[in-house]
Structure formats: C-alpha cells, structure tokens
C-alpha cells in the first residue's frame, strides 16, 4: 500500500515537472506555428519555402551568423524593408526588400519561425523584444 502511494506521488511529480518545464516550450511552439503561417503569406514567395532565396537576387535565410549578428535589427528590417548592399552567406546582395507593415506580434512570430528553421536555432523571439527593437529602428 505504502509503495503504491509513493508510486502515485512519484508519477504526479514527474507529470507536474514536465508540464512546468514545457511552459516556455508551449510558448515557443505557439510562436513558431503562427510564424510559419505569417512566413507563407508574407515571405515565402521571395525567400522560398526552404529559406533558399533566389540566386543573387534574393538572399537566403539560412545564414545563422548573419541572423545572430543582426539579431536586434531583424524586426526593423521586416517593418521598414531594406536597401543597400549586404553580405549574406559570403555573397553580396543589393536589391531592395519591400517594407511590410505587419503587427509586432506577427513580427515576433515570424522571426521565431525564421530563426528556428532552415538550420537556424536561436530560440523564441518575444513580443517584448520586438517592441524594444522597433523603438530603435534607424
């Protein structure tokens, strides 16, 4: 009897522990799956279903180093577009990216999707981060 009670308590603890752990994961999944839809609607035509870009016209989204180095600028790039020469995956690009006036939460979701797909792994980009980054757009 004692063993049974201990067993049940142990199982309960494991279940509770697992569900506590996954709070962040649930948030990540929510951002990620929502972001995948935003990506399909706003980004995929140009950047491709695998983030592959298009030849020397449109940069790929597979360069994790570029994304990490420009982490704080990504929200602004989506909102205001991008002009001028950049180097992505060791290749130069200088065609214009259109501005896309989507909401901060959509930006957070799509950035979570992009920075955790195509070989990237940067974790959740939260709404809070996006709102802060948008204040500092140049």
């Amino acid at each position: 009897m004692k063993l049974k009670v201990t067993g049940i308590i142990a199982i309960l603890l494991v279940v509770i522990g697992a569900s506590c752990q996954s709070d962040d994961q649930i948030e990540f999944k929510r951002y990620y799956s929502g972001g995948s839809l935003v990506y399909q609607q706003h980004c995929q035509n140009c950047h491709g279903d695998k983030g592959q870009g298009l030849s020397a016209l449109i940069p790929p989204l597979t360069d994790s180093t570029y994304l990490k180095n420009n982490r704080r600028k990504l929200a602004c790039i989506i909102k205001n577009g991008l002009k001028g020469k950049i180097t992505v995956a060791d290749r130069p690009f200088d065609d214009e990216m259109q501005a896309d006036d989507i909401s901060p939460i959509e930006i957070a979701k799509v950035l979570t999707y992009i920075t955790n797909s195509f070989g990237n792994k940067m974790g959740t980009v939260t709404l809070q981060q996006v709102q802060n980054d948008l204040k500092n757009c140049q």
Binding site: N45, G48, L54, S55, A56, L57, D95, E96
Partner: protein, 215 residues
C-alpha cells in the same frame, strides 16, 4: 466476390494501358474550320489559334521576332523585375525548366516584362545575370507596353496597368508553345508540381512526330 476482384483487375489493367498510350498533348485556343479546295474537292480542316508575329528586344539588346522561334518549342510568361509578389517564386520554378533544357538549341524560354518603363534592357540584363542565366535559352523581352499587352491575349493571359496601390496585376502562368506556334499547355508558374508537369510535357511534346519533323 471473386467476380468483383476479377472486375477490379480488368479495370485496373485497362486504365494502365490507357495512361501508357498517352503520347500527344492537347491543342488549346480557338479553333476555326477552314475549307480549302484540294484537287478540285472541297476539304474542311481545323485551324488552331497561333501566336501572331511580334517584335521585341531581349536582354542583350538583340531584336527578337517570331522568326527567332521558328523550329523551336518554347515557354512564355509575363513578369516584371520589381515584382514583390508572385514573380520570384515563378522564376525560381522556371529556373528548373531552364536547367533541364539549357543545352537544347531547339528550346527557348521568353519572359515578357509588363513594366517596360522601369525594366529597360540594362535592367533586364542585370536581372538575368543575378538570376544566374546566360546564353540564349532564356530571353527577357522588352517592348512597347501596347505590344506586350496585345500579345498577352494571344497567350490567353490577363495583364493590366498598375492599380491604385501601384501594383501590377498579372497571371502567373507558364504557356507552352509548339513549333507550329500553337498553344499546347498552361501551367501555374507558382506551383512546383505544375512546373514539374511542364517539364514532363515538354519531353512528351518534343517526341511528337510533327514536332520532330518541323524545322
């Protein structure tokens, strides 16, 4: 029950045979009956819609007319280089067609710009270079807006002027034309599966007897 199984097997075999014998693509567009006098007898034949004569300039500033496409199977589409919506995905898919047939001198791709004011010859050349295409397989064609819009109708395509938001609305189809300048297929250029079918259909078309015979 046994009869049912036999029935199913027969139907399956029958369908398998049918799909194997498919070797010709349909001919699209308006058909008109034409009556001619041959050896003193009136003979009625079907005349299919063809692409009319045209004159445009490609990315190398060479003049391109219908004569440059004589004896060639080709694919046509309509685009513009600053297109933010469907063009990148169309040309990402068209690159697959290009790669498949770029060594075949009897095959061409022509992309008409519907924004000739911005897409001048140097702009088209720069686009071609950045897209990674070279040689004469894929021509980007510049011409008078009226001429481009008129020929679009021959390809059953709808293109129009900028809307109030400053966007061009145009169809994203790839149109397959045979050596007799007849329409043989239309494919949604934004759909990779349709473009895979286009590549298969080009191979089917190339093997048709009247395509092999045509010069």
């Amino acid at each position: 029950m046994k009869h049912l199984w036999i029935g199913i097997i027969i139907i399956t075999l029958f369908n398998a045979c049918k799909s194997n014998t498919k070797s010709a693509l349909p001919i699209l567009g308006y058909k008109t009956p034409v009556t001619k006098t041959v050896d003193g007898k009136a003979v009625t034949d079907t005349e299919y819609a063809t692409i009319p004569p045209f004159k445009f300039v490609n990315q190398y500033a060479d003049t391109i007319t219908q004569k440059n496409l004589d004896g060639k199977i080709y694919v046509a589409d309509f685009f513009f280089t600053t297109c933010p919506s469907i063009c990148p995905v169309m040309h990402r898919n068209m690159l697959n067609v290009y790669k498949e047939f770029k060594d075949d001198d009897n095959f061409r791709i022509i992309s008409h710009t519907i924004d000739p004011k911005y897409d001048t010859v140097p702009v088209l050349k720069r686009y071609a270079d950045k897209l990674g295409i070279a040689g004469n397989t894929w021509w980007l064609l510049h011409g008078e807006k009226g001429d481009t819009y008129k020929i679009a109708k021959s390809y059953l395509q709808s293109v129009s002027e900028k809307n109030p938001k400053g966007e061009y609305i145009h169809d994203g189809f790839f149109i397959l034309i045979d050596k007799q300048k007849r329409l043989r297929g239309t494919y949604e250029g934004t759909d990779p599966a349709e473009v895979t079918k286009l590549i298969a259909d080009i191979k089917t078309l190339k093997a048709e007897p009247d395509q092999i015979a045509a010069k």
